[in-house]
């Protein structure tokens, strides 16, 4: 039986279909999850996709973080459920305090959309184990509020405990502290990433297929855990 990976749709989510497609291309079964449902439908892992949850009226992800499905997700994440937050999903995970730091408006104030080079810094997570340590990849990035910030002590802890998952190379597209593109929790089951690996899973539609290992990694980790 293939692993079942849930993808949450919030009002305003726009990359949920792409995330489900990436899950399918990784040979897992994508499961639609609705933000207002108090149920994770028994999935083995969850992706919080990009988009603009609830219009992000207050702060990106701030209201979405209190969606009923998030209560279950926070509970699951604390018990080891693999959770990947991409872009707005990353913002939701920070607002939920499942990941440290926060995402703020890009330092240059413009929405940015580009194919971004990254270095994978941490491969002992549920979502990056299929990469080589230090592997450089290119995936799309598109955000207006993608600047990762945290206080100096938190940034030092992220570096010291090797909790930075991916770093921007060549260009820092949004003013993120220390070129941080993604972070993880201590256990490695929760990962947040501002760029979009789900848009780089097929030659036809992406700049590369460099994003697919995020989705095959989680299957490996699930097989390992079973």
């Amino acid at each position: 039986m293939p692993a079942r990976v849930g993808v949450v749709t919030f009002p305003g989510s726009l990359d949920d279909a792409d995330a489900r497609r990436a899950v399918r291309l990784a040979d897992a079964e994508p499961v639609r999850l609705w933000h207002a449902d108090d149920d994770l439908r028994g999935v083995d892992a969850v992706v919080l996709p990009g988009g603009f949850s609830y219009g992000d009226y207050l702060r990106c992800g701030a209201i979405a973080r209190y969606a009923p499905v998030m209560t279950r997700l926070i509970d699951g994440a604390s018990r080891g459920l693999p959770v990947l937050g991409i872009c707005n999903g990353f913002q939701v995970l920070c607002e939920a305090h499942l990941l440290p730091g926060a995402l703020v408006r890009n330092d240059h104030q413009h929405f940015v959309c580009r194919d971004q080079r990254l270095r994978i810094e941490s491969t002992d997570t549920a979502w990056t184990s299929a990469y080589e340590p230090g592997q450089e990849i290119v995936v799309p990035l598109k955000n207006g509020e993608g600047g990762f910030v945290a206080d100096a002590a938190t940034l030092d802890r992220l570096e010291g405990e090797r909790l930075v998952v991916a770093r921007y190379l060549e260009v820092n597209p949004n003013g993120s502290a220390r070129d941080i593109a993604g972070v993880r929790n201590e256990a490695g089951n929760v990962v947040g990433l501002m760029p979009h690996p789900e848009h780089a899973v097929e030659e036809l539609t992406g700049p590369s297929t460099d994003g697919l290992p995020f989705f095959t990694s989680v299957l490996r980790s699930l097989v390992g855990a079973a």
């Binding site: 209190y66 330092d107 104030q109």
Partner: protein, 82 residues
């Protein structure tokens, strides 16, 4: 009905790109001499009854939970008089 005001500001050590854009725009419009602008958010909460310490404490809790993100923002809570 009474009103409680919550003011939220980005922490001083964080860059405020909106404020920086405003400094430039003000200068362009001839309002020279402004060296810094920081843009915040103001929330006005209408509450039932009078504002006492318990109400303020509850609003402070709400601000800490939802209205502000303490990771990046500071906030103040006060009863609006009048």
């Amino acid at each position: 009905m009474s009103r409680v005001v919550v003011d939220v500001m980005l922490k001083p050590e964080l860059l405020d790109p909106q404020g920086q854009a405003l400094v430039k725009a003000l200068d362009r419009l001839g309002y020279t001499g402004v060296t810094s602008v920081r843009q915040g958010k103001r929330f006005e909460l209408e509450v039932e009854g009078a504002v006492d310490d318990a109400v303020l404490a509850r609003v402070r809790d709400a601000a800490d939970t939802l209205l502000a993100n303490p990771v990046i923002e500071d906030f103040t809570v006060r009863a609006e008089v009048g």
